[in-house]
């Protein structure tokens, strides 16, 4: 997986959230949506390049080319359009640090129809990293009806990891929902990781393949409580509902830390009375290169 990180700021928190919600919507699956994209976390004014309220967004795709197409298209519809917003690179570093680049203002500037202006700033010193050598950062100022849309020229992209997951099994859907929301709340403040499904979780656990030739994936019968009698179930006795939390992260460690925090919070929220088990999907071993072993993650945490 390839990943980039964007920072959106606005004059107030309300525009910032509206822009971010549009930007990350319909972004749950690299296959059907092009990108998996979600808010990483809110940024206070003192954490953003322009001192205004902001939000950090992480986006993942299966190829750099896909990121390079999807990000400017989404930004053009959801950030350029949204009153008072600005758009910055969230991975700090020029081509010497991140040679592969995702275009931002590089593409969006043309909306200015020749009236756009470029500005170069040589010292960045912003954000949570530093370029290894001093490179100019280029910003575009595109005339729009509320003044100017300020947009950084481009943003680095980097290798990352998709599809980390853990699965909560419980005695009722209500119990699993409570556990699931506690897990998502524990993951929310962590850096370098997102849970791209609606509300952070999904119920449509899938297996690779289907009896219908054209379908890439279909329901994973072994995890469907309503099919317990009809299939070879993988559900412990008493399991009435199952939810899966899927994570994309900047690194193996970021995902591992998030899974550990989520599992602990899920258990604290409903206790042994509510959950019948926690597991992880490995999709029959057919997908993915990385494996997160829940037992190791949790015992590692206690060591």
């Amino acid at each position: 997986m390839k990943m980039t990180r964007l920072i959106v700021t606005a004059a107030d928190r309300q525009w910032c959230e509206a822009a971010a919600a549009a930007m990350v919507g319909f972004g749950t699956s690299v296959i059907a949506c092009g990108v998996e994209i979600a808010v990483e976390r809110e940024l206070a004014p003192q954490e953003t390049p322009d001192g205004r309220p902001g939000v950090a967004i992480l986006a993942f795709a299966v190829s750099g080319k896909e990121l390079e197409e999807q990000i400017p298209r989404r930004a053009g519809q959801c950030i350029l359009t949204c009153p008072t917003t600005a758009l910055y690179a969230g991975l700090i570093g020029g081509p010497s640090v991140y040679p592969k680049r995702v275009p931002l203002g590089k593409t969006l500037r043309y909306f200015g129809d020749g009236n756009q202006i470029s500005k170069q700033i040589w010292s960045t010193g912003l954000g949570e990293g530093e370029p290894t050598e001093t490179e100019a950062t280029r910003y575009w100022r595109v005339p729009v009806m509320d003044g100017e849309f300020v947009c950084e020229h481009d943003c680095g992209r980097t290798e990352a990891i998709g599809g980390g997951n853990f699965i909560l099994l419980g005695r009722s859907i209500e119990t699993v929902v409570t556990a699931c929301r506690a897990a998502v709340a524990a993951i929310a403040p962590l850096s370098g990781v997102i849970t791209p499904f609606p509300g952070g979780a999904t119920r449509s656990g899938s297996k690779v393949g289907s009896k219908y030739a054209s379908l890439f994936a279909s329901t994973n019968e072994g995890f469907c409580p309503s099919l317990r009698e009809l299939t070879k179930t993988e559900l412990p006795s008493g399991t009435k509902a199952v939810l899966e939390i899927v994570l994309d992260g900047a690194s193996f460690d970021a995902i591992a830390e998030a899974i550990a925090a989520g599992v602990v919070a899920a258990c604290e929220a409903v206790g042994g009375d509510g959950l019948t088990g926690i597991t992880a999907g490995n999709y029959g071993g057919k997908l993915g290169r990385h494996h997160f072993h829940l037992h190791d993650l949790m015992t590692g945490r206690e060591a």
Copy 2:
């Protein structure tokens, strides 16, 4: 424009909002996003087919074919995946009322990999209309990890109108934002109309065409305060910022009513001190068949 209306329900308001936010995200433009799609309004449990908290969504596209592709794809990623949700037609009536249909469960059922079940109900009596003759409504029950995803077979689609708009011109961006938010708040409870841009408004007013051959649209210099000295401006003296509210609606009347409500609320919010004018974009007369004449709308309202 072609339009359909969907109802999403969930076990609680929080899942309902998460599903809806994903479903309508990245849905600001029929050209770049395929659909213009937004929440029409919240539905109380007593207003939904299954008595649970819900939300109504309107989606618009330039062709029926586009709706028929976009809606099942978005629903498959954003509703099927989201815990506890169900999906229903929001236009009440079978093929005898709406002969053109958008597939919902008709497509999504295959995720069940043969385990899906169909159910027909002959009397509907739900929602805000009635079929002219009794037709069976077909629902699909697709096994998923939290139980079953209930999804109506399909939904009618109908002719509708896109691109209604009005433009607020003011003495500062802060003033125009306040007026704009009051207008959006006035439009929010109305039926049959959406404002698909982030937060309901846009600053990237555009003209058709560009000096760059590949661009369909570019910034409308006449409405850009920063280009006042460089172009033939259309801005009254003292205008520092401009925002546009774009509306899609089920009918001319729905849009006209929304514009009238929005204009009144904008004026009440900031008064003559804040706004320097209100106008409407006609894109050089190059786009659209319908014209909303603000003066007629407002005087009609007082008559």
Copy 3:
């Protein structure tokens, strides 16, 4: 019980909600808080006296005197202080309609230190009722740092009913929470009724009296799952958790309609698998004059 209804407006929805949250906070019990007070519902700009976004608030107290003390004190701390807000009577009608009055601007105007200005308007024609005869409505304009605080002189008060309730019993706390939230969502859009506890529900069901002489009320052992073995329980077998929804309303009918809507929504949300029963607290017959018979309410609904 005595009741009044207030309308708070502001330049935007965000200030409106901030003012309302402060105004209704710490307002769950007439005994410990002086008033039971909560948001009745949001008002669109076209529903408010000044055409701005608004909110309607209902407040209940055991005596008119208590209302007359509490409301201006709370309004002075929570509305007068809050940027851009205005405060209006929510019961339409002067002394000829509502002879008993709760002071608003009548008290708050003195903050102006002599600089306040009074304004009389003879025709109201606003809101959802009409005075039986034309009476002047008096408004105060109090100079503050953001301009002027506009505040109606006073507001009528009327007889009302407190302490309507229904109690949800279920197989797990998570199940009862889901049912409870669906009930609260069904009650939210209804006029003339509020659920004043946090989130609309309470778990601290009480009986009148206590073994500690100074306590007016204490936990109702018969409804505590953890005391099942130690007391004469009133819990059906399998009940692990119980929540109560308490309602105050403008009339018996308003409360009855809300209970019926809430009970239906609770049942739809979790079904017979989740709830073990629904009942109502009558506090040993020691409190209250009105009785809502759930069975009658529900069968009446189906008739």
Copy 4:
């Protein structure tokens, strides 16, 4: 001023916010409300004593006695009542660290009517401080309808500082609102400080005393734009609106840091075009012992 810090947790974020909103409502002024109380910040599950989603609350009063009365009364109405919540001390340390104590479970346990159970835990190791010596922490488990209400026995209280403030002066109310919200957003993530007014700001700047003998405070004419011609104004030319941000903090440094962050964010949000000045209220020198000199705060920041 005396201060305490509380931690409220719940099974999910929604109950947590409902309980906190009730607990801190009507809490803007030590004089009229007894306490100034507000949410300090959200706590992720991994930051709370019981691993569930939480919130930290700061409360200030003019005397320890007032805190000791107000906190258990508010907690009894707003936390004890709210489904799934628990209540913990937010200042870590027993009587050897904080000899003065605010009762929590010590008072609330009696609701259990003799069925409450006490539990002592000797090692805490939670939160952001450590007791200087090991002392047992006592918790109460009070039977309620959703299971048990867990409540720490008491919480320390400490000396603190109230009434820090800064005042934003601007060219329109909309401009000042935008600046003000950016300031509040910058202060929100900081520890040890709250902005207790609705939305974090107030427009009802006051002077000590009034021409009406019974009033302790009244409008500060010098800061009212509408009285510019009638009084000795303190407003720079072009000032149309003013808002004040009032802060209570655990220490002089906490408030100073918050003011600096807020002032910077306000300036970044609207720039010199929007604000005509920033100042601080010293209430004619009649109130308070601490003085925050804005110029020192800001230059200190740059040093």
